[in-house]
Every structure is written in C-alpha cells, then in structure tokens.
Symmetry: C2
Subunit: 139 residues, 2 copies
C-alpha cells in the first residue's frame, strides 16, 4: 500500500509551484535544489502533470513551470491520479467486475470500500489547504 516515489516527489514539486502562484514561473533547477531531487527526474514528473492540464511549462532562458489553475482549485486526488497510473488498491476496486470470480468474491466489496475511502481522503484536500500547514479536516 505504498505510494510511488513519483507521486511523493510530484506532490512536493507542485507545492513549490503553489507557493509561487501568481509570482511567475519556477525553473526545475530551483525545485531540484530546494527539494533535493534531480532536474532530470523532475522533468519526468512534470510530463504527466502537463498532460493533465495542471501545469504549463514555458521554454527557454527565464523559463520554468507554473500552475495552470489556482492552488485552491487543484485537489490532491487530481494530481495523484495524474502521477500514479494505478491509484486503486487492487484490480478489483472498480464498480464494474474485473475478474471472473467477482460474482462470488466476498473480498471485492472491501477493495471497493477501501478505494473510495482513499479517493475521498485525497479529494477533500487542495494544494491550498496544504500550503497553510496542517490538514484542515484532520479528524
């Protein structure tokens, strides 16, 4: 039940962009220095985020990345679904049955239940929420 390092680093990178929202672009070299992640690796994380419409990159000198939407409109679930291709706990977490056993499988409802709990936990938070430290709805 581990989150990939891709998801972890991608989130941290986006938080850096969020902290700079409205103040221009941030080059990956800055984020790399602050977070201790290689530029090359960051580039790979930005690709799916760009395709998901969460960030825009401006090329050339003085270029960099910036959020495409304000931090309070970007849900954590949104960015993690872009970074983590398989966010569900198992293959049997979806609404429609996936394996031939699903009819009589007593465990399937559990995977669905767990998956929903995760989605809910991630979608109730935005980047903005994390910026002002401490999860707002922390039990």
């Amino acid at each position: 039940m581990r989150l990939s390092r891709k998801a972890e680093c991608g989130t941290r990178a986006l938080l850096q962009l969020a902290a700079n929202y409205g103040k221009g672009v941030v080059p990956l070299s800055d984020i790399a220095a602050r977070e201790g992640i290689s530029v090359k690796y960051l580039e790979q994380l930005m690709m799916p985020l760009r395709k998901a419409g969460l960030v825009t990159g401006t090329r050339g000198a003085l270029g960099g990345y910036s959020l495409k939407k304000p931090p309070w409109e970007i849900r954590i679930g949104e960015l993690l679904r872009a970074l983590e291709e398989r966010l569900e706990p198992t293959d049997c977490s979806g609404d429609l049955p996936s394996c031939e056993r699903s009819g009589r499988c007593k465990a399937r409802p559990l995977w669905v239940h767990l998956s929903r709990a995760v989605q809910r936990a991630l979608d109730e938070l935005t980047l903005q929420d994390l910026l002002r430290q401490g999860p707002p709805v922390s039990d």
Copy 2:
C-alpha cells in the same frame, strides 16, 4: 498505491476460514482449490497470520487451519497489518518525523492524513461484515 497480492490472497483465505468458523478446521488444499491459489503460496501467507494470533494450524492428517478469534472480532486492518509489512503510503506517514525535511515539508501532513483515512477504513470493518455481503457503511 497498490495492495500486495499477499494481502489480497491472504484476505480471501481468511474469508474462507471465517465462513467455516465453528465447523472445524479447513486444510489449505481446500482453499487452494476454491480460490485458485497454490498450497505452497498459501502456506507463506498463513505464517504471519499465525504469528499475529489470528489463526491456528493443526498438523497431521485431518489437520488444517481455523480462526483463533470469531470473525466479528477480527478487523480487516488487523489482518492487513499482519500481511502487509508496510501499510502506510509513505515513510513519512507516522506521527514522529522520519526525514530531516519533515519540519518544513508541506506535504507531510498529507501523508499522515491519508494514512489515517486508510487505517480508519480498514478498522471499521470485520471479517463478519464481509461475510454478509456488501460493506455495511458503504456511503
């Protein structure tokens, strides 16, 4: 954010034992046949479950496994924590800081929040709940 196959198969195996609770032991060969999992693999799943005090194995002919506690007293979180050594989404999900960045890390509260959501989702269900099909608190 995938659950290991170990956790998945282990849960299905325990559900078989739960279905037979109070009616004697179940040999792994039975579970193997019903769930399509090899006996040798099941053996490995039973080891941590036994150490966690969830099942007992009786050796010899007519032997097999049985639950050590009634199904309504075994929480899913309990068994998954036994099967999955690292159930937390990241290394930074615990209450005490793990990495040197944790002080200023804006992402850390997120991992804690997510971890708690998962634990809660798993601990609010018992094997018994799964036996009578359909998660009880499925929003």
